[in-house]
């Protein structure tokens, strides 16, 4: 069969030809000057759309909001380059009047749009006014709800008159992942309907402009502005990469392969196993922590969210019983293979929170008691973080920190000790009963819980969920995990679930103020069953005491130390009531490859920002990155 | 006298299968000798699964596993070429096929490619032997068809558009277009109704007369043999049991099986129902010892059960394999 020989030869030659080019995935750009970053949005359906103010019409973390956008302030989820708070377009912090009905912003001077036009108060005015008169822009609703009038007494001052007092109005312009971005007036006023304008190519305020993009939405390449000195990050130095490519690298296995081939400098997130594989096989790859647990704890708190409008979870005793049936060590192993940062309280254990909340409340937690009806138990076990570290040490050795402080930082502190006996007593007090080895509700129906998880979108949480239902099942509760692939957003909003793993707590990270999520927990926002619930109080839990705390926070300034006290009150309240069962921070396995670039943020020596590259805050990473040589 | 066109000697062809180590042999053709002279129509008769078709396949070398030729030879003596069918190369065989040796097959319904027009069959089968240009070739074919009283239009028809009898005529035309020296006709009339059958037989007869070809004509229908063939061979259980001029065989059969076949022909004025043979045809995987017909034979004796009766000449040109040849009663 001579034909086979030809085929083999053809393949061989083809492969040789391929070998040269397959190594290099970008054409016409020097790899050494290019940073390749994963965009977790994946393929962008409408790639040629760079009007970020029109909802959904295009990608956001394609580099567009990290490298192209800017607004008044940034709060860093970690320590920040120069402190947590950065005045970006603003020259100073927000200035409120006494009753929080007016906010004044002083603008930084000498900042230019990428087309050479200077940024000024007129742009701000245009942005706000456009949102006031146009419905359906990304920030139209919050602007219309809050702003009565906006004015610019001079070129670098903007004054917002608010419809009602709001001590957190600046949050709208303060980047935590994103915030309301400023529009280039000179571009948009010529563009007609701002909802239908594609803004391609975008005129940017950031240090980069668009170089090229794939019409099919697989990649976006940005290029450093020659006048980068006229942008806000210039205060910290020159951005390192000349080009930044945001790509859709495909499923997790492929991201691992791509980084092992050194064709993906930053992986946004990957499975724990993928992270371990990279740590083992690629000398140049590393995570936020130098060794285990590698991942960056995002200021997000995955929890078992119990739908408070469901009869089953109305009793605090039941909620507490469910918490006491969870063995967090097993959950940590099942979800993150131990690489989790656990938290017993309703604040993510990251950024400034451990110092402000976790450490100071440790003593209170140790003494905290719950009454099972038969006896009082102290549920808190402060050694669980250490136990997790100890159980990992035999297989991972050196990588596992040994100082109590380090352990607390990487693995968290304590959690609730599994206590089936107490859970049984609590359930019995709530009128539940056990017949044979099955539990029944007071109305005689079997006690059955469907725990909803997100599936593919959050694989680690799916794993945690299946471990938790397994533990509940072993206790005699008819628990099962259901995957709400695709429909999670709708079901979560509509309250169409019994229990789910998601987060209703997100914080600034670097800043201890809790209003970011807490305000939405006020009972005034809780929707009727079946009606959509505004983010983030997915548990639809109401409590008069909580309302009181929230109302007090609203009247307290953002940086007022009194806010911390109120925050701690909130923590104590939710520990007593257990409306959601906090598990751990959302650890993101962002993996960075040193082959072409150094200077990435890390926990030990450079905690200047969050490495997770879809955060708009990563603009600060660019100025710290240096070519490897 | 010149050599016979076809010489078959000592031919033995078995179906051999083996499953899980168990060998199975079906002795479909066992020790067959026959000769066919130039220009004669030789008939081959016998009930179904007596080995007729296998014999023909073996003669034409159309054998495929599990059929194997174990012994014997098949030799054609064409006018200027002698060919051993089982010793010749593929190319040699291909050369004689259709030019010297052609075939009219059983089940004429399906012998033509259903998705192509009839014309292509003529091209595929005969063009390489006739040569010339395509147009000239088609002219020759048309002339041939006309000679056989067929409309040349049939060339442009698909097989399914022709009636059964028509298709069989086309097949005969196809088989004879190269004026072959030898034609194998395997039950060409079996599926046809009586009237059509008669026409087809007449056609074969006239073609054969015209071209002087030799024909081996297989059918189980004794009436057809009586009307068409010059000589007749009777097969039973994989063996040739009687052979002679057709008229002789009909007049004075020398084998009880032949007698039975002839007796079962309907005749005018017959009132009594025909007496059937008892028993089933022999299982050729495990044939009875001795004469294979003995279990069903009214004349069977001890020797028949022990020894295989040899094929011996009982009258000039009339051979039979029976120990009790003399006792066979004429019809």
């Amino acid at each position: 069969m001579r034909i086979w020989r030809y085929i083999a030869m053809f393949l061989f030659v083809g492969c040789l030809a391929g070998e040269a080019s397959a190594q290099n995935t970008i054409s016409n750009l020097p790899r050494k000057e290019t940073l390749i970053v994963e965009n977790p949005e994946g393929t962008i359906k409408n790639a040629g759309w760079f009007n970020i103010w029109a909802i959904n019409a295009g990608g956001q973390s394609t580099g567009l909001h990290q490298l192209g956008m800017d607004t008044f302030w940034y709060i860093d989820p970690q320590k920040g380059v120069d402190g947590v708070w950065d005045n970006s377009l603003a020259a100073d912090k927000p200035i409120y009047n006494a009753d929080f009905t007016e906010m004044t912003v002083k603008l930084r001077k000498g900042i230019f749009w990428s087309d050479g036009v200077e940024f000024s108060a007129a742009d701000v005015l245009y942005t706000i006014q456009t949102h006031m008169k146009t419905n359906g822009l990304r920030w139209s609703a919050p602007v219309q709800v809050n702003v009565a009038e906006v004015s610019a007494p001079d070129d670098s001052t903007v004054v917002f008159k608010l419809k009602k007092p709001n001590s957190r109005f600046h949050a709208l312009f303060t980047v935590r992942w994103n915030a309301m971005w400023m529009m280039p007036k000179h571009v948009f006023e010529k563009a007609g309907d701002p909802l239908k304008f594609a803004n391609d190519p975008p005129v940017t305020l950031g240090a980069y402009t668009l170089n090229s993009y794939d019409p099919n939405g697989k990649w976006f390449i940005w290029q450093k502005r020659p006048d980068w000195q006229r942008t806000t990050v210039a205060r910290f130095g020159e951005p390192g990469p000349k080009y930044v490519a945001y790509v859709d690298p495909g499923p997790p296995d492929k991201r691992v392969i791509a980084q092992m081939n050194h064709e993906l400098d930053i992986i946004h997130d990957v499975s724990p196993e993928g992270m371990f594989t990279l740590a083992k096989q690629s000398k140049t790859s590393h995570g936020w922590f130098k060794g285990f647990p590698y991942a960056h704890p995002d200021p997000t708190l995955p929890a078992v969210v119990l739908n408070a409008q469901n009869e089953m979870f109305k009793s605090r005793d039941v909620r507490w019983a469910l918490a006491l049936l969870i063995d967090i060590k097993a959950v940590s192993m099942a979800s993150y293979r131990g690489a989790a940062t656990i938290s017993a309280i309703g604040v993510p254990p990251t950024g400034s929170a451990p110092d402000v909340y976790h450490a100071p409340l440790e003593a209170w937690l140790k003494d905290f008691e719950i009454d099972t009806g038969k006896r009082k138990v102290k549920p808190y076990d402060p050694t669980i973080g250490k136990q997790i570290a100890d159980s990992l040490r035999p297989s991972l050795g050196e990588q596992i920190p040994s100082s109590a402080d380090e352990i607390a930082k990487s693995f968290g502190r304590g959690w609730w000790k599994p206590n089936p006996q107490a859970a049984q007593e609590l359930l019995e007090r709530a009128g539940y009963s056990k017949k044979g080895d099955k539990w029944f509700m007071p109305d005689g129906k079997p006690f059955s819980i469907k725990l909803m998880v997100e599936g593919e979108g959050r694989p680690v949480m799916t794993r945690a969920g299946s471990m938790i239902t397994q533990q509940w099942r072993q206790f005699g509760i008819d628990a099962s995990t259901v995957v709400a692939q695709g429909s999670m957003v709708d079901r979560r909003a509509a309250g169409d679930f019994e229990a789910m793993i998601t987060w209703s707590v997100e914080t600034w990270g670097g800043h201890p103020d809790l209003s970011f999520f807490l305000d939405s927990w006020h009972s005034q926002f809780v929707a009727q069953p079946g009606k959509p619930q505004p983010p983030r109080n997915w548990q639809r839990w109401t409590n008069p005491e909580l309302d009181k705390i929230i109302e007090q926070v609203r009247q307290t300034g953002f940086d007022d130390p009194k806010g911390l006290e109120l925050g701690r009150d909130y923590v104590k309240l939710v520990v007593r009531e257990m409306p959601t069962i906090p598990l751990m921070s959302y650890n993101v396995f962002t993996v960075m490859d040193d082959t072409y670039w150094t200077g990435y943020p890390n926990a030990a020596t450079a905690p200047y920002t969050d490495p997770v590259p879809n955060w708009a805050n990563t603009k600060y990473m660019m100025v710290k990155l240096k070519p490897k040589q | 006298m010149s050599a016979p066109v076809l010489e078959v000697s000592g031919l033995r062809a078995y179906y051999r299968t083996s499953a899980f180590g168990t060998r199975r042999e079906v002795r479909a053709v066992d020790d067959v000798d026959l000769r066919i002279e130039a220009g004669e129509i030789y008939g081959l008769a016998g009930e179904s699964s007596c080995g007729k078709t296998t014999l023909i396949k073996t003669i034409a070398n159309a054998i495929q596993p599990p059929l194997e030729v174990l012994a014997g030879s098949v030799v054609f003596n064409f006018r200027d070429q002698r060919i051993d069918m089982h010793g010749a190369s593929r190319e040699e065989l291909r050369d004689i096929r259709w030019k010297r040796l052609s075939y009219i097959m059983q089940g004429s319904m399906n012998v033509l490619n259903p998705v192509r027009r009839v014309r292509h069959a003529f091209v595929d089968f005969a063009f390489r032997h006739i040569g010339r240009s395509k147009a000239e070739f088609l002219d020759i074919v048309r002339a041939h068809l006309r000679r056989l009283h067929l409309e040349p239009d049939v060339l442009d028809a698909y097989p399914h558009q022709l009636s059964g009898g028509m298709r069989q005529r086309v097949t005969i035309a196809l088989a004879t277009v190269c004026r072959p020296e030898f034609i194998i006709a395997d039950e060409p009339t079996t599926a046809l109704d009586v009237v059509v059958q008669k026409g087809v037989l007449a056609m074969i007869h006239s073609v054969q007369r015209e071209m002087g070809s030799s024909v081996i004509f297989v059918t189980h229908d004794m009436a057809v043999h009586a009307n068409l063939t010059d000589r007749l061979g009777i097969m039973y259980g994989g063996r040739l049991v009687e052979e002679g001029r057709t008229a002789d065989v009909f007049r004075r059969p020398r084998h009880p099986y032949t007698a039975h076949l002839i007796a079962s022909l309907p005749r005018l004025g017959d009132a009594a129902p025909k007496e059937g043979l008892t028993g089933a045809p022999p299982n050729l995987a495990d044939p009875p010892p001795g004469c294979r017909f003995h279990p069903r034979c009214p004349l069977a004796s001890d020797i028949c059960r022990r020894e295989v009766p040899p094929m011996t000449e009982r009258a000039p040109g009339h051979r039979a394999a029976c120990f009790h040849s003399d006792q066979v009663s004429p019809p």
């Binding site: 359906k45 959904n56 429909s487 | 490619n113």
Partner: protein, 335 residues
């Protein structure tokens, strides 16, 4: 018979129109039955991670509803859907508002069509050729081995095959690109360089589809052929000394191809659904990814757009096959 053909044609065209109409209606009903609300999806997308004031949500919901034109009832949407489809417009996508659905499909379709036409034809031709040879030369060892391989590959879930290829040629022996349809930052100018890049990026997707698809055609063809070789007309042609190549081609394959061509037409019609897993694994652009993401976010305009294109394409393929069938198999009278 000829005089009946126009009548038959008319009837068949009517059936085509009916099938398309019913199909699109089913698609309309099904897509609108989705519990996924595009407005909620947009709100979630706009409020995830970032700062959100709960008071603003209700306002946002209302204005998005107006913007997307979802205010009217189902009947109204149905009417406007048909009004638009009649002029070949599927309206704006709800998840990429205000970009028209047709623009989104138009961007993805060329990739899908070229990838799948190439791989389908290649697979079909190769599968049938090998299958035909294997059925005809049943004893040939190489062909038997090929058959065994095709059969072993056939049942492996496609995802696994694709990924194994990716690991082998993208990592262990990194000779082929594993992502995208062409190199990043390359101008789509139809230069030789660009075409070369297109081809080399297509190798793995095409091969993966071929590896898995080959077995089906192979086995189908082999069993068809092994039935056909016992047909009288094949035996007869062999007795007639017709060349083996000619027998294989004009007698055996020609007859066996009739059902295989039907299969081919249908697979070609079905390509408008895209190759979802291929696109996912190889990061290849195409309609599949678009469809999956549209389904995920409840963008029923887009789902309906893709579905309608696919319905029309498959129906057309079926129609063509029915009209051409008498040519392929003259035994079947058009009726």
């Amino acid at each position: 018979m000829i005089s009946g053909y126009p009548l038959y044609l008319l009837g068949r065209l009517g059936q085509f129109a009916l099938v398309v109409f019913i199909g699109i209606n089913i698609a309309f009903i099904v897509t609108h039955a989705t519990p996924i609300d595009p407005v909620e999806q947009s709100i979630a997308a706009a409020t995830q991670f970032g700062s959100t004031s709960p008071e603003a949500i209700a306002l946002m919901r209302q204005s998005l509803k107006e913007l997307y034109g979802l205010e009217g009832g189902l009947a109204e949407q149905y009417a406007s859907f048909w009004r638009r489809v009649a002029v070949g417009d599927f309206g704006p996508s709800l998840s990429a508002f205000p970009t028209p659905v047709s623009v989104l499909i138009g961007r993805a379709l060329p990739w899908t069509v070229s990838l799948l036409v190439v791989s389908t034809l290649l697979t079909w031709a190769l599968g049938n050729l090998l299958g035909g040879l294997a059925g005809y030369y049943a004893k040939n060892r190489t062909l038997r081995l090929a058959g065994l391989l095709a059969m072993a590959f056939h049942p492996i879930p496609y995802y696994i095959v694709a990924f194994l290829l990716l690991i082998v040629f993208g990592y262990l022996w990194p000779v082929l690109p594993i992502s995208g349809g062409y190199k990043m930052n390359m101008a789509r100018d139809w230069s030789w360089e660009f075409i070369g890049s297109l081809l080399i990026h297509g190798i793995l997707p095409v091969c993966s589809l071929a590896l898995v698809g080959l077995g089906g055609w192979f086995m189908g063809m082999r069993s068809l052929v092994s039935n056909i070789v016992t047909e009288d007309y094949v035996t007869y042609a062999e007795l007639g000394g017709v060349k083996r190549g000619r027998i294989l081609g004009s007698y055996v394959m020609r007859n066996a191809l009739v059902p295989q061509i039907t299969g081919l037409a249908m697979s070609l019609g079905a390509i408008f659904n895209g190759a979802i897993i291929t696109e996912q694994v190889f990061g290849y652009p195409g309609v599949g990814t678009l469809l999956v993401s549209a389904v995920h976010v409840g963008d029923y305009s887009l789902v309906l757009g893709i579905t309608t294109v696919s319905i029309v394409a498959v129906s057309l393929a079926v129609l063509l096959i029915d009209l051409l069938y008498p040519l392929l198999d003259p035994r079947v009278k058009a009726r």
